[in-house]
Symmetry: C2
Subunit: 368 residues, 2 copies
DNA sequence: GCTTAGCACTCTCACCCCGAGAGTGCCAGC
DNA sequence: GCTGGCACTCTCGGGGTGAGAGTGCTAAGC
């Protein structure tokens, strides 16, 4: 969306309108502007400029004879051109750092817990809705598989995927198996598949295992018939962690219950949030989408400031969601810093691929 | 709370008031009552009875010259004495059954997914907030442990606990280990510990493993120093699955934003919901708590109809949360049926103990 | 003695009106 | 190009009002 070049005065006034509106949530008029910011201009002059900015599509009036409020485009210009990031205080940095890297009651820390703590701190600090996607692999190199007899006809397949990912799948055979043949079969698989990309394995595992000499053929068959799931790339879907709905639901922007409904619906349904944040997994660095720039209609009255973080070979997204009227200049710094610290901390953690909340069961008879 | 014996007429009228109020969310007066339900009484007579019920603490007036609304105690009497469960239609049964036992895009089904689908169906069917706690073990018998080398210094401990529970914990040693010594160590552990209650193992694992002859002493030490976590009973905490906030947030009961805030806070914080539902894990069968009966202040304007379900040796809770003005007679049947089907379906599923969303990492040097 | 009709009274709610306040656009003059 | 002045517009809150619903009380009826 091309915007005509703005004069210095226009830029200045646009910036002031945005700042004032972010603060007050009320339309801002020429008089207020002059008084509050000590402008060396008369209200009438400012009015002319406001009019120009309105024609350029950057401001709008809720009704005749109200003040102006920024449009989505107005925020966009503000964010891209006018705003300068606010540096974080040491205290704020500490809040974020401690939340992400702090110990919790003596237990081991896993990715999900770290994300939980992060969104908690981020949500409370910004008093908005903090959201984060669990890390996912972009490309996966198969390291190895281990097969563990669970007792009865159930087998646990443990896959390690470079780097630091773990997948466990419960498979079910129609007969007991002894752990020697499990071990042997796993070894065979590892010999032939280790180091290959998951994608390649899915496509060619049958050929690669064709003339298998060792190993238990029943087990091998079970593996092959479930190879699509076993060797899937960790799915692009994943868990969402969020925190802070109480913060944003009281904002004047959520006075209309229908907005509450669509936002909460989007959070529960997860798809919307996943699409929006997932889309950014690829984009490095910080992203800001404002209002209608969010393709998803459910939250077109919201803005999102989010950033990409890495976790070993995987990557995820962390950000803050709120009404378009949010303190972008501050949030940019906060989110950026958060993502940075997350990347540092998550470097070391092993985490499960896919939802991994429970072990999925795959029965033998599901083979085609 | 002892309530004086009610006359037939009082019971009848109390029931009608509750029914009418559940339907309309508006105070109900004598005239309405007579007209709507074709009572063979004059409004004046009904008024006298209403007055009596008010004195008994079962009804109240929002203000003089408004109709009556039920008090929490009024609902309690209704639920305990007056109400008879409404049978479910076959269609409703099918909705629930299909959601719980239905296949999903060809993948294996795990407990978490089943719970997700269940609360989704339950929330949409009742148009309230459906909540469920993942199944937890009440007493745990240790079956066996397997140790899998993950590559590098990391080891995956896979514990199976009777019946159908799985726990995976990532342990970290300061040196590489070969899988033979892992296997040997695991075998030793299994020989001495298999069949014992988790609790007993936590208390006496050191003595039991004292004169260990086989196995790698470093690995054994790692296991011992993390025995509290490894052999913990699956924690009483767990994941909450819920669905339906958009349904209830639009109800007139949630007109005041502070209620939205406290409910959403409770859902995000999880503790409140966990306490309320967790408390019932022990109680078999169906439970109804109404308004202030919920000890937790945050949701004293809500009622919960919940039931206990089993999953192998484990058990969990499923229920519906809404304003005290809810269709108890219908919900009782729905929740009861849901819990029953869940118990059937979950009988077969293997699920992870504890949060298990990711594998926890326990480093060797954390030993005391 | 329970039930009922009648009546006076109360309280809420929706509606309307009105004035204050904030803000605008425009125009003429500096 | 900027500014002061002016007429105009729109929202918002307060106050008044009447309809509607409901109550409690009392006295009369079955």
């Amino acid at each position: 969306m091309p915007v005509r070049t703005l004069t210095e005065r226009e830029k200045n006034i646009l910036g002031l309108v945005v700042k004032a509106f972010i603060h007050d949530a009320a339309p801002v008029g020429s008089r207020t502007l002059v008084r509050r910011f000590g402008l060396e201009l008369s209200p009438a002059t400012v009015r002319n400029t406001l009019n120009d900015l309105e024609e350029a599509g950057l401001l709008e009036q809720p009704h005749t004879s109200a003040g102006r409020i920024p449009t989505d485009l107005g925020y966009r210009v503000y964010v891209d051109v006018l705003m300068s990031p606010v540096e974080l205080s040491l205290g704020e940095q500490a809040v974020i750092r401690d939340a992400i890297s702090g110990e919790i009651h003596g237990y081991g820390r896993d990715a999900a817990t770290i994300l939980d703590q992060t969104v908690r701190a981020l949500g409370d600090l910004t008093r908005l809705l903090a959201v984060s996607l669990e890390p996912r692999l972009e490309k996966g190199i198969f390291e190895k598989i281990e097969l563990v007899a669970l007792g009865g006809p159930k087998i646990l397949a443990v896959l390690t995927i470079a780097k630091g990912f773990l997948r466990t799948v419960v498979l079910e055979l129609d007969a007991r198996v002894d752990s020697d043949s499990l071990h042997e079969t796993a070894q065979l698989l590892n010999e032939r598949l280790s180091g290959l990309p998951m994608r390649a394995i899915r496509e060619s595992v049958r050929e690669r295992m064709r003339d298998a000499s060792a190993g238990d053929p029943k087990i091998l068959k079970l593996i092959l018939s479930n190879s699509e799931e076993l060797f899937a790339l960790p799915s692009t879907e994943g868990n969402i962690h969020y925190w802070g709905t109480p913060h944003i639901l009281v904002l004047p922007e959520f006075a209309e219950p229908e907005r509450i409904v669509s936002l909460m619906g989007a959070l529960e349904e997860k798809d919307v949030i996943l699409r929006i944040l997932g889309r950014r997994r690829g984009e490095k660095g910080l992203t800001i989408t404002i209002g209608e720039e969010n393709r998803e209609g459910e939250i077109q009255f919201c803005s999102i400031v989010s950033s990409h973080y890495t976790a070993g070979e995987g990557s995820g997204t962390v950000g803050v969601l709120g009404p378009t009227r949010m303190e972008y200049s501050k949030l940019v710094s906060i989110v950026d810093y958060t993502a940075r610290i997350m990347s540092e901390v998550l470097e070391q953690v092993v985490y499960t691929a896919d939802k991994g909340k429970d072990s999925a069961i795959v029965r033998e008879d599901r083979s085609r």
